[in-house]
């Protein structure tokens, strides 16, 4: 007993040994940069000298200064980012949901199908974009050859947007599909059979029983997918180059260019843009969470 007390009195360093390394990494590579990132949004900074505090100037310029190119950049980039999210997210929920429902019937080769749809989500975005860029190009792809299309899809609207959405869906639905498939597998078989006996068709069973049973997974994937799509960068960068005439240029491309592009870094303004994008992401996901959760 007394030995026990003595052991407790002695400073116990084991917790520091176990959680210390992670806490240290967390502070250096996450906490500090996050706090600092907010601070430099209020400064003029070129990445290397010490930042100079300018109050709300960056935000004023970006939001209200009609003369400034940052103002145009920001609104154009934010508009395109939102547009991308609004078009892409529904497809990234509905397509995998439909695929999962079809897989649930366990037709022949269903495991192979499942792998096929899942696989692209493990692939590097740059590799995927190279493949699709050649596939959609007039000279080398099948479009011109089989379908006699002679407009360059990647620099003509609305095809450029359609291309971005198609490629994004192709690339990223794997995870959601697996989540839905597992969730649908867990839906009560008894309930489904009872409904079937009562004469409910497959469609009405899907909407009345399956969908409500996997509500939590729908909520989870919607929020996660939305956050992921807000951070869109690689697809427009490598597929459309932000064109035609900046109509697919997203905000992250501007943030990256202003801070790390050619010429002197404008990291302060760029950080202010990043902070505002971050606020948008948080507001939208909080909103989705409340909206979807309360729909009982």
């Amino acid at each position: 007993m007394s030995k026990n007390i003595a052991r407790q009195r002695k400073l116990n360093l084991w917790p520091a040994f176990f959680v210390g390394p992670h806490i240290l990494l967390f502070i250096v590579f996450f906490l500090f940069p996050s706090v600092y990132g907010i601070y430099i949004a209020f400064t003029e900074w070129n990445l290397f000298t010490s930042p100079e505090f300018v109050g709300l100037d960056n935000f004023k310029t970006i939001l209200f200064d009609q003369e400034s190119s940052f103002h145009d950049q920001f609104y154009n980039g934010l508009k395109n980012t939102f547009l991308f999210v609004v078009i892409t997210v529904p497809f990234c929920i509905i397509v995998p949901l439909v695929l999962a429902s079809a897989l649930l019937a366990k037709p022949k080769l269903h495991r192979l199908f499942q792998s096929i749809f899942y696989l692209p989500s493990l692939f590097a975005i740059s590799a995927v974009m190279i493949i699709w860029q050649f596939l959609l190009s007039l000279s080398y792809g099948p479009l011109n050859n089989y379908f006699d299309i002679s407009t360059n899809m990647l620099n003509t609207q609305p095809y450029a947007w359609i291309a971005l959405v198609v490629v994004t869906v192709w690339w990223s639905i794997g995870a959601n599909m697996i989540i839905y498939l597992a969730a649908l597998n867990g839906v009560s078989k008894d309930l489904m059979e009872a409904a079937e006996l009562d004469g409910a068709g497959a469609v009405s069973r899907f909407f009345k029983i399956s969908l409500p049973s996997i509500k939590y997974q729908i909520l989870f994937t919607t929020v996660m997918t939305t956050i992921a799509q807000f951070n869109v960068y690689g697809q427009p960068l490598m597929l459309t180059g932000g064109g035609p005439t900046d109509s697919t240029r997203v905000l992250l491309m501007d943030i990256q260019q202003n801070a790390f592009g050619k010429g002197i870094s404008i990291a302060g303004v760029s950080s202010a843009m990043a902070v505002m994008l971050g606020i948008c992401i948080m507001i939208v996901s909080a909103f989705q969470f409340i909206l979807l959760r309360d729909r009982d």
């Binding site: 084991w14 917790p15 040994f17 176990f18 959680v19 390394p21 992670h22 967390f26 590579f29 940069p33 600092y36 990132g37 430099i40 990445l47 695929l99 897989l103 019937a105 037709p107 022949k108 199908f113 792998s115 096929i116 749809f117 899942y118 696989l119 692209p120 493990l122 692939f123 590097a124 975005i125 740059s126 590799a127 995927v128 974009m129 190279i130 493949i131 860029q133 050649f134 596939l135 080398y140 011109n144 089989y146 192709w170 697996i178 989540i179 939590y216 951070n231 690689g234 490598m238 990256q256 801070a259 790390f260 990291a267 760029s270 950080s271 990043a274 994008l277 971050g278 948080m282 996901s285």
Partner: protein, 278 residues
Amino acid sequence: MKQKKTTKITAFSFLVIMAILWVGPLLWALFTSFKSREEIQSVGFNFLPIHWTIGNYQELLFDNASTPIVKWFLNSLIISVCHVALVLVVASLAAYGYSRMKFKWRDTIFMCLLASMMFPGVVNLIPLYSVMDTLGWVNNLLAIIVPGAASVFNVFLIRQFAMGIPRALDESAKMDGANEFQIFIKVILPLIRPVLAVVALFSFTGSWNDFLWPSIIINDVEKLPITPGLQLLQGQYITYPGLGTAGALIALVPTFLLYLFAQKYFMQSMTLQAGIKE
């Protein structure tokens, strides 16, 4: 019974059409990478090569100084393997701390870590560059290997899993005179192997596929990993689909192989992630 059969047939036909849409681009890329430059220029689009050639791969791998793809591939391997090792050590130690030990502020600290996951990552991108500059890690592979180990999500996953291991096991080891580190190594570690496999796979693919951050922090072409490297390759070979697709496919090989051998864990991991808050 009959109805079930028609459902199966409908589902099958639908899936076949979708699967063609999904596999088509990959197969076309694969075939294109085996077509000669001349063939692509003269024939235009053709699904299969008329004359199969490995010339694109030869040129890309052995005769190409401006886009050193072999070097990039090796860089990526080094980065991903080191990243996985670091994540496993750091995250499993931390997870042990938060799931098996009692210390002051434990739950408060853990809740703060969890809350931090809500913070949008885009905000710390620019200052992280500055941190790397201070550490002297700009243009250094460490800048890509280390920061990801700060992730809270891995700690969270492993902790959730470890919570399910009965306390009695630690207690009896403690009775036998084992210290915390021995308990961690001998009792807990063997039991959390399934979740460690999941974390390892996801850290590997995440690190291999990371695009934006490496392209910011590495300016030296020789030091690039393959995923951002492909952007240079795209610029270089925009009119040579054979070389472009060959490069893209080389970059897909490791994650593809990993999937073939560890399919089970990939499937498990998704349900693990989504099922957590239930």
